[in-house]
């Protein structure tokens, strides 16, 4: 089968397009799947995390993936961050050092993730100058995203991340995706609440709500992340199942996507 991919921006339309790709290829096994990227004239680099997660799951179901007709400008971005190295292309040097490489982690890789963040984010000279206190909180917020995926998703296929710096705009786009059960199912199974997907995301980000059960408490990670991003006038987007949720400058919006995808989280930050 061939699927055509449009421009991918890290906004609702971009998520919708990638989630549609996931839904349309669901159930394929031992198939050849061609993704025609001729229409993709824009690709926000951090969205490689979601794109890569979808393709990885397809590969896990023994499908052969071919990325076709990639525009040179897009190929350059996706080669610099190492994404296309997974699909037969060579990595090219990142002259300006603004990419945060595409990477897949297993759930046991907390420390490996921590050193990736230290190496690719915290210790980079391209990183905007921050006070020690802000840098510490920034780093801990990123770790909270990963911990949240580890603690809640029950993913067996891993956790995917990718990012992009915009030094002049003092902005970082960073995405983390897991291939777990999703927030809606988690809330239903563990909190006994049968909510619509977008309402389930909202529930998980509020107060002391948590889906954690058992001897280790939870219910703080997403709130800490949200507080930090709100405080720094950043933006956080969460897509899980068919739910879309965004918090930007203290305002929250949410809605339903046309198709469903398992859990993923996105944080865009400004300094």
């Amino acid at each position: 089968m061939t699927i055509r991919l449009p421009a991918i921006r890290h906004d609702r339309a971009g998520f919708e397009a990638l989630v549609r790709l996931s839904a349309e290829t669901e159930g394929h096994y031992l198939s050849r799947i061609e993704i025609d990227m001729s229409q993709a004239d824009w690709f926000d680099a951090d969205m490689c995390a979601l794109f890569g997660a979808i393709l990885y799951r397809l590969g896990d179901r023994l499908n052969t993936i071919q990325l076709e007709k990639i525009r040179p400008s897009i190929a350059q971005i996706l080669s610099k961050n190492g994404f296309l190295s997974n699909y037969g292309r060579q990595k090219i040097p990142d002259t300006w050092g603004t990419t945060i490489p595409y990477q897949r982690f297993d759930v046991k890789d907390d420390r490996y993730f921590a050193s990736y963040i230290e190496r690719e984010l915290v210790n980079r000279h391209e990183m905007p100058k921050m006070s020690d206190g802000l840098l510490k909180k920034f780093r801990e917020s990123v770790f909270e995203i990963f911990s949240n995926a580890v603690g809640h998703s029950r993913t067996e296929l891993g956790i995917f991340s990718c990012g992009q710096f915009f030094p002049k705009r003092k902005r970082l786009d960073f995405s983390v995706v897991d291939l777990g059960i999703g927030i809606r199912r988690n809330v239903k199974e563990n909190a006994g609440l049968d909510l619509a997907a977008d309402k389930a995301i909202a529930w998980a980000t509020e107060g002391r709500n948590t889906t954690k059960r058992g001897r280790i408490p939870g219910g703080l990670g997403l709130k800490l992340l949200r507080e930090f991003i709100d405080l720094n006038r950043g933006r956080i987007q969460i897509v899980s199942d068919a739910g879309y949720w965004i918090s930007w400058q203290g305002k929250v919006q949410s809605g339903r996507l046309n198709h469903a995808f398992h859990s993923c989280e996105f944080g865009d930050q400004h300094f």
Binding site: A114, E140, V150, K212, G214, P217, G221
Partner: protein, 119 residues
Amino acid sequence: MNDSLDLSIYEIVGSPLCVASEDGQKVYERIAAALREGRAVSVSFRNVTSLTSAFLNAAIGQLYGPFSEDEIRAKLRVQDMEPDDRALLKRVVDTAKEYFRDPQRFDQAVEEVLGDEAR
């Protein structure tokens, strides 16, 4: 505190980045074992540069399941923490107390502990 057990988080984790729940679990096991023996415990966060709620939930928050608040207050001392880390710990502890007030969660936690001991 006489005969207290002194623990260095940095030494147990082996890194200044205390981010993983599994690392928190290692800390918890040492604290819990000492508390079960009736010993006081002093925990130092010296040289720790990053903490997450997942780590602290596992290391400290979890204590509020099998041990009472009074017991923890009397026997556990936390030292060498930056003020912002102390603020995070307070939130973790407040959340944990509330978490274990929910009888369903508490029952499940007790079941898990007993299950472990039966193995």
